[in-house]
Each structure stands twice: as C-alpha cells, then as structure tokens.
C-alpha cells in the first residue's frame, strides 16, 4: 500500500512539484508525518505547522506554493481538504473477508449481486436483495423484503427490518438498527395501546449512518432519508421523520416523530428536535440545540446557557427563575417610567434654579 507521487497527484487531479517516482508510504498529520509520508495543509492558518513538519510531500493550494516549495515536494490542488479526503481511500484498510461465509444463513429467495461479501453468522431473510460489490459484516441481520443497492457497507451487529429500501453506496456502521418500531401508543384509560408500525424506512444513495443509531420505521407512511445525508453515532430518527439531501447530523442528536428537516442542514451534536416540526433548508444548529418550534429561515441557531463555575451557575439559575416573574422588558418599562419622572423633576428644578440663581453643578452628562 504505497504509491508514487505521480499516482497520488493523478488521483486528486493535482499538479506535482517534485520527483514523480518518489515513493509515499503513508498519509499522516503534519505533526506525525516523516520523510516518506504525505500530509495536507488546510489553508494559510496551518502554514507555520507546515513549515515545521517533517513530511516528504505536502498537499497545498496554489497560494501556498511559493512559501513551501523550497522545503517540500508538493501536490497542488484547488481544495487540499477534498484532496486529502480522496487520498484517505487509497490508504484505508482492506476488508478481511472476501466471499460469502459458509456460516451465513441466507434465505433461498434472497438475491445477491456480483461480488457480494457476507461475513460469518450473518442472517439474510426472505426476498432480500443486495446489490453488487456490497459488504455485509458478521452477525448482521437483514429481515425479509429489505433491498440494498450496490457497493453498500453494512457493519457487524446491524439489524435491518421493516422492508427497508436502501440505495447505492450506503454505509451503515456497527450495531445500528434500521426499521425498529416507532414509539406509537394510543393512551386510553390510563394505559398505552401499542400501534403496530406499518410504514417502512426509505434511505437514498450515498447515505452514511454511524454506529449505535436507531432509525425507526414509519407508523403508516415511511421514514425517509434522502440522498447524501450523513448521520453520526447514537442518533435517534423517529418514525415518519424526513431528512433532506446532503444534511449532516452529528452524534447523539434526537429527532422526534414526523419532523421534516430540509436539505443541506448541519445539526450539531446532542441536539434534540421536537416532533411535527419543519426545518428549512440550510439551517445550522450549534451543539445541544433544543428545537421546539419550526424554523422557516435558513441561518444558524443555538440554545442553552454558557458553562459557568457551579457556584455562579446556581445563582444564575435563580436569576433565570426570577425572569419568569419579572421579564426584562417589564424592568425596562419600570426604568423608563422612573426616567420620565426624573426628567420631570429635573425640568422643574431647572425652572426653579433659573428663577433663583444659576447652578454651575447642573451637569447633564450623566443622563441616559
């Protein structure tokens, strides 16, 4: 797994400055790279770090060439970060299983494309379809009527139910559940009456779902994740949620039932979004956001309080509680009234002073 500088340059469509036959062993960070390694410079702000690096080759943008070319061999590209992303694939692990394990239990009606690889003890149900070049890891369970596109990557202990349809080049990481039952119960006379969930999960192409996440099936209609969506670990996607194209959802976020999230959103980690809301396209939420109303405007939104030393925090919490009885605006109004009354007093005093004698101390600089 080593590449010539020429090969790497071609892979990222970059211009090579240096010995095209130079042999690159590893892709590493600026700090860790040594003379046989390649590293990338993610913009001007990493210039100092780059100059201190022991890397043999750097991936850079045009504007940094002059500053780095005497010291390093270079691959010059438009977006070094994108080029780095592309190169990681060359240096990634290969998968250790290369065919269909004898211990896999595959229903005779299942249809597997060319070059599908299935790990030990995987269980593949009735009428399942799996496209070509897909990897199914050990211990995966795929229930009946699920269909998966080509070049999929389904890691160990993933469970897929609910006749889910999954597109091409989808990656689902370990221990995630697709199509678990939505949390639907009709309350009646103090008890919860289960609503069997009848909808499916529909996942588009090039979707990525992290480990230990749960994507519930819809109640009647489907839960839908559009093309290019990326989801991190430990994320909850409840029944009938819809997530638009190329939206990114960071770890530990929860999205409650029937909420629609637009395209190209970025949801910060540990956020919670209530049910039955609509979030516009291009919305960004910072980490741990609490969303209780629909968001109709693109933009960046936040919630929560800053972190304080606990002693100060306890006092601020008291203040927050007091806000419920005396909002800021009411305080402001009281201050306005007082100000008006003082204005009046002062104008009266000024009249009196004018009547009596000049007062050189009547300084109005202090006024609001």
């Amino acid at each position: 797994m080593s590449y010539s500088l020429e090969q790497l340059g071609r892979h990222v469509q970059g211009a090579v400055h240096g010995d095209s036959q130079f042999n690159v062993l590893k892709l590493r960070s600026l700090e860790q790279a040594t003379a046989q390694d390649i590293a990338f410079v993610n913009g001007e702000k990493y210039l100092e770090q780059a100059l201190a690096s022991k890397a043999g080759v750097l991936i850079v943008s045009k504007d940094l060439v002059e500053k780095l070319q005497t010291q390093f061999q270079l691959i010059v590209v438009e977006s070094p970060y994108l080029a780095f992303a592309q190169l990681t694939h060359l240096f990634a692990d290969t998968v250790e299983f290369s065919n269909i394990a004898k211990t896999a239990v595959i229903h005779p009606t299942a249809q597997l494309g060319k070059n599908v690889r299935i790990g030990d003890y995987a269980v593949i149900g009735e009428n399942v379809q799996i496209g070509s070049n897909s990897y199914i890891y050990p211990h995966v369970h795929i229930g009946k009527n699920v269909s998966i596109g080509h070049s999929a990557w389904i890691e160990s202990h993933v469970s897929i139910f609910a006749e889910a349809t999954i597109g091409d080049q989808v990656r689902i990481h370990a221990n995630t559940v697709i199509g678990s039952e939505g949390f639907g119960f009709a309350p009646y006379q103090g008890r919860w009456h289960r609503i069997a969930q009848l909808g499916r999960v529909r996942i588009g192409h090039q979707v990525r779902i992290g480990s230990n996440s749960s994507i519930d099936r819809g109640a009647l209609d489907d839960t839908v994740i559009d093309d290019g969506v990326i989801i991190d670990n430990l994320v909850q996607v409840a029944h009938n949620v819809q997530i638009g194209q190329h939206t990114a959802i960071a770890a530990k976020t929860a999205i409650a039932g029937s909420t629609k999230i637009g395209a190209h959103c970025i949801i910060g980690g540990a956020s919670a979004i209530a049910g039955h809301l609509t979030i516009a396209d291009q919305v960004q939420l910072t980490g741990m956001s609490m969303v209780t109303k629909s968001i109709h405007q693109a933009g960046t939104y936040s919630s929560g309080t800053g972190l304080l030393e606990s002693a100060a925090w306890r006092k601020a919490v008291v203040g927050f509680r007091q806000l419920s009885e005396m909002p800021i605006n009411k305080l402001l109004k009281q201050i306005k009234v007082l100000t008006a009354r003082i204005d009046q007093l002062e104008s009266h005093q000024t009249v009196e002073q004018a009547n009596e004698r000049p007062n050189p101390n009547d300084d109005k600089k202090n006024k609001l």
Copy 2:
C-alpha cells in the same frame, strides 16, 4: 391480509355504516389512502383533511358521522385513535421464522414454553425460562437464569444478563441491553475501584423497551420497571432505578442511579434525571428537561432556553452569566428604592408648587 368491513368493525367494537362485505386492503393515512383502504379521523381538527381523503372507509367518532357519512363508509367508535391502534395489529407484518432454528445454541437446562420461536444463532443460557408463544430473534444472547414470560418479543442482537426476570407480553427491540453492569465505582486514592453489581433487573408485564437502550442491573437491590411502562430508543436506565406503572419515557432520556419515577408519568425525549431523586406520579416533563431535584407534585415541568439565532443567543448567554452576579430580584429592589426616593422628591416638589403656584403639567399618569 385483507378484511371485510364487518370484520374490522367487530375487531374495534364499532358500528359499521356501509357495505359489511366491502373488502379493505390497507390501513393508511388520510393522505395516502385510496378507495380500497381504511383511514382514521383523529377528531374534529382533521375534518377538512378527512373530507379531502380518497379513503374508502373512515374510522370516526359519533360527532363526525353526519359530516362524513354521505361521502364515506364509516366505522363509528368511541375512540378512533384507540381503534386505529387495534387495527394496526391486523395489518402488521408476520414474523418470518416459525420454529426453533437449528443453529440456535440452547442450554439443555433451558425451559421453553409451547410455540416458542428462536432465530438463527441465538444463544440461550443455563436455566433460562421462556414462556409460550414468545419470539426470540436471531443473534439474541440470553444469559443464565433469566426468565421471560409468555408472548414476549425479543429482537436481534439483544443481550439479557443479570438473572433478569421479564413478564408477559414484553417487547424488547433490537440491540438493547438488559442487565448491563451498573456504573458503580468506589473512589480511593485517585483510582476507581469497581463495585461488582449483584442486583438484578425486574421487568413487569406488557413493558416495551426500544432499540439501543441500556437497562443496568442493580448494585445490591434490583432495578425495577413496573407493568405497562413504555420506553423508547437509546434510553439509559441506571442501576437501582424504579419506574412506576404505565409511565412513558421518550427516546434518548437518561435516568441516573437509584431514582424512583412514579406511575403514569410522561418523560419527554432527551431528558436527563439526576440520581437518588423521587418523581411523583403523573409528572410530565417536556423534551430535554434537566431534573436535579425531586418532584413532589404532579404537573408539567420544563427546563432549557428557547432556540435563538446564534448571534442573539450569544448575547443572551452573556445576560445569563450576568444574572449570577445581579439577580432580577436585586435589580427590582434597586428600582423600588429609586421609586421611593422619587416619590419623596415629587411629594416635596408638590408641596413647593402648592406653596408657589399651581402647575397644570403635574401629570401622575406615568407613575408605576
């Protein structure tokens, strides 16, 4: 899987308006239903949507019959939502495995009731008891001495340890862990000394636990989940927690050790409840609540801040921090003192004015 209108009416104890032999193919939402389908109308507020639906049959309450009977066949019930819940069971998927898989590893001392079904590669330990008509999915691991009642539903990749006792008609969804070790460590000289957990998990009847959840065993005494409790996905229930009957806990909630939650509570998603607290019956928490004290009164509680545009939010956070040094009540007190001083000044001025001349501008409307 199709039913006559008469069959459906009987199943929900409803009165049928229409052709009792009419053949219903699917249960769908008002929007998606077509002429062969049944949908339900969840109260007056869905009337408009109902009138626009293409459904062949609607489930309605009495008060809507007049408005809908000319256009639709009807099933008239007391609670359409409950009737809908009951009907979902008729239209639900059947399970794809119908006996005990040859690949299941079942300890010879395990006792299985009638019609128990066990999926491929499940592992059932010593002295395990499983009641009749229970389904154990592929890859489930049930450790020694666990007992499970009848009509249970244990999905793929569930792990059950700690001699857990589980009641009848319990559903545990995929990749959940019952009886994982409680987080108990004695700090001593800068290190954490593990407290092996000796308690069990006791789960009542008709309990539902979602996917990717963790229910820890007790330290010495047991962790207890009472009858009829429903728990969503990715929920943490720590050691020695007790949860009262028919309480509902939404996704991504965390309940710390030894906390007791009453009956008929509803805990909103992504809430966090500290340890060693007591929560009364009938408490409702809105989503993302942070509970650090016991709640002794039934009612609805919340915490957190609203969502703001990030620029405004940053300023509000500064304000929150300032509350720690200057709580609202202290501000109010200052305003009161100023008000008293102005009162005094004005009363003096009034006396003076009375002494001097009448002032028609002395308007007190502005006063607080």
Copy 3:
C-alpha cells in the same frame, strides 16, 4: 458462595469484631440484609439506617464502632465503601462459559493466551491477540490486527475494529463499538466527501466502557483512552479524542472530535463537549453540561437552567430571549445613571430645604 467472617475481614484487611467462623451468605443493602448477611455503613449519615438494619454483620469505619458494636458483628476498615467494593467481587456471578466454544470462528493466525474463554458464534479476525484469562462473550466480533491484554472482559455483541490496542483488565460491556469510523467528511460543492479514517483506538489498562457506547477510530492519529478511565453507557467518544488517566464519564455524554480531557476529571451524565477543546485535569462537570470552550482551571462547572413548572418556564424563556437585547449590565448602568440623577436632585432639594426650613422626614435610610 458463602464466606466466614474471618475470610471477609482478611479480604478487606479489616479488624473483625465477632465470631470469626460466622457464616455470611450475602452482601446486601442495610434495608434488605437479614441475620446471615453483611452490609456496609457509608459514614455517620447512615447511622440511623444502620441501627435499624437486621444485618448480621456491618462493615464500618473506626468512629462508628462504639455506636454499633453492641448490636452487630463488625468488620472495621479505613474506607467502608472501598471494602464494600472489594467484597462485591467475592459475591459476583461466575461466568457461564468455561472454554472456547466450538461455534466460535477464530482465524488461524489469531493468538490466544492461556485460559481465554470465547462464547458461541464469536468471530475473531486475522492476527488478533488476546491475553490470558480473558473472556470473550457470544456474538462478539473482533476485527483483524486488534490486540487485547490479559484478564479482559468483552461482552456480547461488542464490535472491535480499526486495529485497536486494548490493555489489561479492560471491561467492555454489551453492544459497544470500538473503532467505528469517525465522522469525517470534506464539504465540497454542496456534498460531503468521506474521509476514510486511518487512525486507531488505543485503550490503556483497567479501562471500563459501558454498554451501547461508541468509540471512534482517529482520522489520521489515534483516539486515546488512558489507564483507569471509566466510561458509562451510551457515550460517544469521537475521533482523535484523548481522555486522561482515571477520568470518569457518566452515561449519555458526547465528546466531539479532537478534544483532550485531562486526568481525574468527572463528567456528569448527558453532557456534551464540543470539538477541539482542552479540559484541564481535575475538572468536574455536573450533569447535562454544555461545554463550548476549553477549561483551563480545575473546578466544578455547570450549565443549563433549573427545572420549572412549564407555565413559569415559558415566561422565563421569554426573559432569556430579552436578555439578548438588554443584558443585565446595561440595565444596571441605566439604574446607576438614574441613581446619580436622583442624588443630584436630592442634594439640590436638601440645599433648598436648608435654605427654607428643616425637614424631619428627610430619611436617607432608603438609599442604595
């Protein structure tokens, strides 16, 4: 599994008061213990509970001996909590599988130490190393080149990838994923370009990781968890995070990428820590803390608001929003200005009054 009082005393290096041959059946809580059981008294504040206990033996510190010795047999130790932790190990369950299951799939190049036990259907990859006396539960998947030290405990449905190195006496609870892929994507022209993760996970000795947690592999460098760290359930540790020795992380915490957490920290449950931060040693966070900046000082920190009845909370949230337009300090400044103006008015009035007549009502007690 019963022990003499003498055996128990020796195990915790304590002084025995009572019949050294007394047979102890169980270790239980003060409330549940009966005449054949041992319980522990965790300090003076449990004295009343201790006096009411039916336990046969109590573990106590020196200062409580006098108050309890007439009623109970005692084991006297420096730290009863530590002694309790040590005793739990004597009373803990034994593991039910005692060798290498025939159904385990073990790559011929894997190296297993003495007395390694491997459960049914575990899958152990190429070049995996597992130290002596380690337990690998059923359905575990350990990918190629992973190394695990001696006396490890890896529970059911754990997935380990990314050539992770794991130290001695490490416990990883059920359904946890070690070495899942970090959430790294290069945004380019509205799409997310996957950065294949090339780093590993390095876990020290005596580390404990709970159930359903995700520890991602590093992007280029490694994710590192130092010796003695304890992590609870449903925790997210993103790529390139570093966690210092003996730090404790409670359930449902999320730590974003590249953040470094110091040694001997205690992170409360459901906390979220943003990426690329540095947290000093000895930092404690209370539950549900939101950390968006580095913490350079040891100490205890918090965030969030208190829990309020929802009606009051809604008003407080309005107040919080108003803080973004009118911070407390600005209000304070306005009040200061008003105070100065009133001071001025009063001093003028006092001069006038002195000129005119004495005023016995001129009480300044009310002033700020």
